[in-house]
Subunit: 311 residues, 2 copies
């Protein structure tokens, strides 16, 4: 079988800060990728079409193919709100709920809805973009997957690859605001990575996850008492927060193994923490986002459903 | 017995933001109080003596009596560091560890050391100022006392009124940084107090205290889903954080009742939350700070130990 060369889909990973556009071939393979700081919060006056045309206008003119977008672009602050699909949700539900935006250039953009989920405590949770990555990662039923980030997600997969349930943890954002704006940042000094301080934080966070708003104060007292040097305090707090997250997310039933999906450096940090927790892990494939976008487009009939995904 | 009228002690409640000076009579009663925004972080170039003389120089000149200070003034960033006394610690230990500062005006200032405590998790915790309030509140052995604030403290009293153990919760500071600097503040609108939203937050925080860094995300999703109006979201987050604190602090053994000590509005908030948690409570007396300072001064022999404290 020869590799197809035509462009079948333009796939947009459109988040809060960045816009990444990929041109996918007829087998779903990535032919070319471009990125810009054109995220939902970075585009002035919601001029999303202008931002898209600036990055990929030439592709849209040249290839006359459908576009698909996942991420915060479907939020209320985005281009067009794509109402959440409720969990459990798989490719079929989401493909039936794509929100169409007709572009002046003549092409059609399809926005993937995010997912909502009601937790055991009766509270709503939401994601936008991660659902597409989860499908792209082709996870087996029963898999537990963590997606580190500003708002880290823990997702549990169900039958047929559907997302059964998920939980958001504010870990990344807490790290940022506590480091920059709270007393915990006062004693911190920048410096090289301190793996030992990180591991100490993880251990403490795991044990004390049920006492999180107390135990983070250790990022001050450990500095005050000279137990951790100022250059180690940022990694200690990072470890604490990731340890709290892992301890909380796995408190009812620790999975034997989790899949880690996302940014390389953050994934490595989580893998270290999972080692400390004694939980196995494997990394998801790098192309989960574009692969998921391709699968949604296939399920919606935007691209050839018979085409085999190149792996 | 006639009330004594001379000034026996000048007592300084000297925290991060404010300096409050009280003139105490020979029975320990408050004769006069003054306050200024002269806290440790508010005095330029550590000119603490100038700040003190500006507020109470006339008292110091006129009365030639000892001065006592409790709070952050004894921290490394303060006037003179007063090393922590280790828990369990009572009046006698602390009275033996007062740090003397000779003033140019001829009087002597005695700085009360804070307390340190090693938790069951092996981590250090610290307080400065609250120990003096706890003694002033004259709590029975076995009492559990909560002091709401930026860094809320839960303290457990032991034999002879000693502070047996305590834990700091970052509740107040988390509320401030999350409201001002995180995504949780984005949907919030200022408005009247919303007691129902507060109570909902408390209930959720109590149940989900072991999942704190996840459940605070509800302060976003509840707004996103229209379950709580934008004006109710600040009180919902406040309730969540206080509920998490109470749930965490009482998770091993819920006390039948706790004593609440501190600022009126904050104490009222905690009392409402304790009602939701089904934990009894009573308010500590208002003059716990000056009463504690008097008792420390008595124990150190700075004032007449035979004088009976007017109640």
């Amino acid at each position: 079988m020869t590799a197809p060369t035509g462009t079948a889909l333009i796939a947009l990973d459109w988040g809060t800060s960045n816009l990444r556009a990929s041109r996918l071939g007829e087998g779903g393979q990535v032919l070319e990728t471009r990125a810009a700081a054109g995220g939902v919060m970075a585009v002035p006056e919601r001029r999303f079409e202008a931002a898209l045309m600036a990055l990929a206008g030439d592709w849209i003119e040249a290839h006359r193919c459908p576009l698909i977008a996942s991420g915060m672009i479907g939020s209320r602050q985005g281009w067009r709100e794509a109402p959440y699909a409720e969990c459990p949700a798989g490719l079929a539900q989401v493909a039936a709920q794509l929100v169409r935006v007709e572009l002046a250039a003549g092409a059609t953009l399809h926005i993937v809805p995010g997912l909502s989920c009601i937790g055991p405590d009766g509270q709503d949770d939401v994601m936008r973009g991660e659902e597409t990555q989860l499908w792209g990662a082709a996870l087996l039923p029963g898999t537990c997957c963590v997606l580190p980030g500003t708002h880290a997600k823990w997702a549990w997969l169900g039958e047929g690859g559907a997302v059964r349930a998920f939980q958001t943890y504010l870990t990344g954002e807490l790290y940022a605001v506590l480091t920059q704006h709270s007393i915990l940042g006062r004693l911190m000094q920048p410096g090289q990575a301190r793996p030992e301080a990180f591991a100490k934080g993880v251990e403490l966070g795991l044990v004390e996850h049920a006492n999180a708003t107390h135990v983070i104060f250790a990022a001050r007292t450990a500095g005050l008492m000279g137990r951790i040097e100022p250059e180690g305090l940022p990694d200690f707090l990072s470890g604490l927060l990731i340890g709290i997250e892992i301890g909380s997310a796995t408190r009812h039933a620790a999975p034997a193994s989790v899949v880690v999906l996302g940014d390389e450096a953050l994934c490595a940090r989580y893998e270290t923490a999972l080692d400390v927790a004694g939980i196995g892990h494997r990394r998801a494939r790098d192309d989960a986002t574009t692969r998921g976008q391709w699968l949604v487009a296939q399920a919606a009939g935007l691209v050839d459903g018979g085409g085999r995904l190149s792996t």
